[in-house]
């Protein structure tokens, strides 16, 4: 069954930020959708609406053919992993995981069997009798996940599940969430403000800006073909370049004319989006026929295994990423298919 928002609107009383307006999308059976957006964009609100902690002002929420809009949280059968985990401090890890089964009146033997099974699945079998406070952040996160899946929920909702952990642990937890999610049929909605999390874990990514759904698509679609510059910036570093169409395949920019297949009428203004890692250092000046540019590097810093250079092409400020450290003046090529044209940003 799929989880579906139909034209859902909600406004927090007395607070203009964090509301959502006219949001519609669907999380398919067994699909993981990452809901992403800056803080105050309404992504957590949407999750709370799905969980039943809030009721939409307008619109409806569906699970398959059943409308859930006014169904209280208790009756939704949704597994929720909270940002701060909300593990009950007066219960052991096993008792926490057992809680939803007890609430459903599952017989005792069945309960302990499923608790042990689920704890083993998240790698916490040895810590069953420990209190939450004695566990590390990552372990608590797994316990919360176990508690949310032990009763085979009809949907799984994860609110910033990775925000409290970082580094390698974050990556391994990400993999674990993905692995657990992969074996369930339940639609899974994950809220995150971290683009890397969203793009690496999700089947599809939904980008929310100011309470509105700007774009939903596969990580590749959202990253490579964003609907606008805001989405592009939110999903990763990007150069946004103002341009005017000279013909369907050429534009004029502050860096001179560039080739790109934008398909717009002559004279149309647009914004070109260019990811810094798609700019190439050219080996020889004549190697590439199209979009060969002279890049003047002003500042270069090392970012992991790559070099991030801020500089200029003619009068245009540009950022580029490359595996080799660029010298102060370098020849760069931009493949035409690396340039993505969107409607110009409206500055209000």
């Amino acid at each position: 069954m799929s989880l579906e928002f139909r034209s859902v609107s909600y406004m927090h009383p007395g607070d203009r930020s964090g509301g959502v307006s006219d949001v519609s999308f669907q999380v398919g059976r067994g699909e993981l959708v990452a809901l992403m957006g800056p803080s105050g964009s309404g992504k957590s609100t949407l999750l709370q609406l799905a969980a039943g902690f809030l009721e939409p002002r307008l619109g409806t929420i569906w699970l398959g053919a059943t409308e859930l809009t006014r169904t209280p949280a208790v009756e939704r059968d949704f597994g929720v992993v909270f940002q701060a985990y909300a593990l009950f401090p007066h219960m052991s890890i096993a008792e926490n995981v057992e809680f939803p089964l007890r609430a459903r009146g599952v017989p005792r033997l069945e309960r302990s069997r499923r608790v042990l099974e689920t704890l083993a699945r998240v790698g916490l079998a040895d810590l069953a009798d420990r209190r939450p406070e004695s566990l590390s952040g990552g372990q608590q996160q797994r316990a919360a996940l176990a508690r949310a899946i032990v009763f085979d929920p009809r949907a799984l909702l994860l609110d910033e599940p990775l925000s409290a952990v970082d580094g390698r642990l974050r990556q391994s937890l990400r993999d674990e969430i993905k692995a657990i999610q992969a074996v369930t049929d339940a639609p899974c909605l994950l809220v995150t403000h971290d683009a890397e999390d969203a793009l690496s874990i999700a089947d599809r990514v939904a980008v929310l800006v100011d309470g509105r759904l700007r774009q939903i698509g596969t990580p590749a679609e959202v990253y490579d073909r964003p609907v606008d510059a805001t989405v592009a910036r939110f999903t990763g570093p990007v150069n946004a370049i103002e341009a005017v169409a000279l013909d369907a395949h050429t534009v004029r920019t502050a860096a001179g004319s560039l080739r790109c297949d934008h398909g717009r009428a002559v004279g149309t203004t647009m914004t070109l989006l260019l990811r810094p890692e798609r700019i190439h250092l050219s080996q020889s000046p004549d190697a590439e026929p199209a979009n060969r540019l002279v890049f003047e590097s002003v500042d270069t810093v090392r970012v992991g295994g790559m070099f991030e250079s801020h500089g200029r092409i003619a009068k245009l400020k540009v950022m580029a990423r490359s595996f080799e450290r660029p010298s102060t003046q370098t020849n760069w090529t931009v493949p035409p298919d690396a340039i993505w044209a969107v409607d110009p940003e409206r500055f209000t």
Binding site: F53, V74, G79, F82, A84, H90, M91, F99
Partner: protein, 259 residues
């Protein structure tokens, strides 16, 4: 710093030790400490029906005060904790501070004026004690609840399929139990030791223990010390119970899930 601490402890402990000495001393005339050892004062105390009755009255008033106060404070704490709002906080602060800032004597006189028909009734005394002790019941409950973000646990419980009653039994009550217990001890201690309201509001037949105690000191010192000793021991028991509850609550708060 250390010396000051010892001085303070001595200052606090001295009266208690003197009470002990007085309660078991045979004669206490013109000496710093009494001489001889006797149990007669204690035996006298237990043989005096008025004191036994007053003690029973005090315990009854304290128990009823805790019960009524608790029944008022618990839902109040619950509302404040599960629906945090500035207005609610202000209301609870007012409710908590008002009885502390009004001297019990003033409270007694205003109760006597407002409910002149009920003066001498035990219920008026209990009502006065409830007003006096409710801040002490409310504060630890709210403090306990705030350390836990009860609202978040309520939501978690609901999302896991627990109805309001199950959440109350398995989450709210166990999490607040330590606060309830500490509040009950504080309220009970205050009620049992309360003199001003009791002296003015209680009928002769319903005199509470402190009222009689006051009268005892005007008679034999040894007897009065023995009578006071009962309160001292009660207070010590309450203090010990209150300080060990932290460990105990960990166990008692367990919802008793199957292993």
């Amino acid at each position: 710093m250390k010396a000051a601490l010892w001085l303070y402890l001595a200052f606090v402990a001295a009266p208690i030790l003197v009470i002990f000495a007085g309660a078991f001393g045979e004669t206490w005339l013109g000496t710093v400490l009494p001489t001889g050892f006797t149990l007669k004062w204690l035996l006298n105390l237990f043989g005096e029906p008025a004191y036994v009755k007053a003690f029973a009255t005090s315990l009854m008033v304290a128990a009823t005060t805790i019960l009524i106060g608790g029944l008022l404070a618990a839902p109040l704490a619950y509302v404040v904790l599960s629906r945090p709002s500035r207005l609610g906080d202000a209301f609870v602060r007012l409710l908590s501070l008002a009885p502390l800032s009004v001297p019990p004597l003033v409270l007694a006189f205003s109760l006597m004026t407002a409910w002149s028909g009920a003066v001498g009734s035990l219920w008026l005394l209990i009502a006065g004690h409830v007003v006096l002790t409710i801040p002490y019941l409310l504060a630890p409950m709210i403090a306990e609840g705030k350390t836990h973000d009860l609202a978040a646990f309520e939501r978690a419980g609901a999302s896991l399929g627990a109805g309001p009653l199950q959440r109350m039994r398995w989450i709210t009550v166990p999490l607040l139990s330590r606060g309830v217990f500490i509040g009950a001890i504080a309220a009970g201690s205050i009620s049992i030791g309360e003199f001003q309201l009791s002296n003015l509001l209680a009928a002769f037949s319903d005199r509470t223990y402190p009222v009689l105690l006051y009268q005892a000191f005007q008679a034999a010192t040894g007897f009065a010390c023995a009578a006071t000793l009962v309160l001292v021991l009660l207070a010590l028991a309450a203090a010990i119970a209150g300080s060990t509850v932290h460990r105990a609550s960990g166990i008692s708060a367990r919802p008793g899930l199957a292993r």
